[in-house]
């Protein structure tokens, strides 16, 4: 199968990022999150929860694939398999008791990149990529001074609020982006925004092309792309 070079390269970069220490998580933790994202899809407890009337039902122990704390595993499995039933009340229980806000956001970023690459392979009937071997290194622990409460569960960065107190990565994350809430969602950890939207540019469309209906850069049209995007969102019962 002849996959576009830019698409394969974006996946390569995602896997390279996954194997390296992040902002708040080390590389072993990151790869473990990816392992749990995969194991959630075959987890009996997750399947039982999905069928339960309430996501708070006691559904047993997760099929865990890592040494991560069981409460962290639960966070990963819930986001992977039952995200549309997450609530602010659940979030307030998890953060900061299980994870700091920063680690929670970085966890979401890793889950998202893993799902994007894996689901692409599943859709095409290709074997999943082997997860990377964690590389040595320490998290950068770069915080973003301008992150504020802005109507989401997690603090976000308004591009207009960036200041000298913020790291360069915070400025870089919005380059070429419109600054919609989906761009801001992970902005407490700028590397997650840059990483995820690097993938997004290759798998969906770069922001600058979204409304360029006169140019069709893919083998399917804008309308076909948007129909697929809307259907996948609807299948996941995601309002955003």
């Amino acid at each position: 199968m002849a996959i576009r070079k830019d698409l394969t390269e974006a996946h390569d970069r995602a896997w390279d990022r996954l194997g390296r220490a992040g902002t708040w998580l080390n590389s072993a933790e990151k790869v473990s999150i990816a392992e749990e994202t995969r194991s959630a899809l075959a987890c009996i407890a997750c399947a039982n929860r999905k069928e339960a009337l309430t996501p708070e039902a006691n559904v047993g122990v997760h099929n865990s694939a890592s040494d991560l704390h069981p409460d962290w595993v639960d966070v990963i499995h819930r986001i992977t398999t039952d995200a549309n039933r997450l609530t602010k009340r659940w979030f307030d229980r998890v953060v900061p008791e299980v994870l700091s806000t920063e680690k929670y956001v970085e966890t979401i970023g890793i889950i998202a990149e893993t799902i994007a690459v894996d689901r692409f392979h599943v859709a095409l009937g290709l074997p999943l990529r082997n997860l990377p071997i964690p590389k040595p290194g320490e998290p950068s622990r770069e915080s973003v001074a301008s992150a504020r409460e802005a109507g989401a569960w997690v603090p976000m960065v308004n591009p207009d609020d960036l200041s000298d107190a913020d790291p360069a990565a915070a400025y870089a994350m919005y380059e070429g982006r419109g600054g919609a809430n989906i761009h801001r969602a992970l902005s407490l950890v700028p590397a997650c925004v840059s990483g995820f939207f690097d993938l997004d540019d290759a798998m969906y469309l770069p922001d600058a092309m979204l409304r360029r209906f006169d140019i069709e850069p893919r083998a399917i049209s804008h309308s076909q792309i948007e129909l697929l995007a809307a259907r996948v969102s609807a299948l996941n019962r995601c309002l955003y």
Partner: protein, 111 residues
Amino acid sequence: MLLRGSGLHAGATFSDAAVVDRGAESGVPWGGLLLAFAEAAVANAPDLAEQRQAVMNELGENAMIDAAAVIGIFQAVVKIADATGIPLEDPKAEISSNFREELGLNAYKEE
């Protein structure tokens, strides 16, 4: 909203109903075929290979690959949106209020 925009540019009216209703016709060329592929890929359903082959036969390999890429990235986008609790931006909420109501999308938020 971008689906409607692409329709306006093409001088066509695409039906939002097909996004949530399997029986509805979208008006998008090969829309039904692509939606069936998306549904099978999201669920990793037993008919995934068949749906993939149907896209391959009618639209070609590059289209099949690009469709798989969109399915993959949006399966991830929804996790980010749901797990961070981001709100719909006010202008988008206003523009989409009618069709969100018509299609029953507001119920997603209440669940």
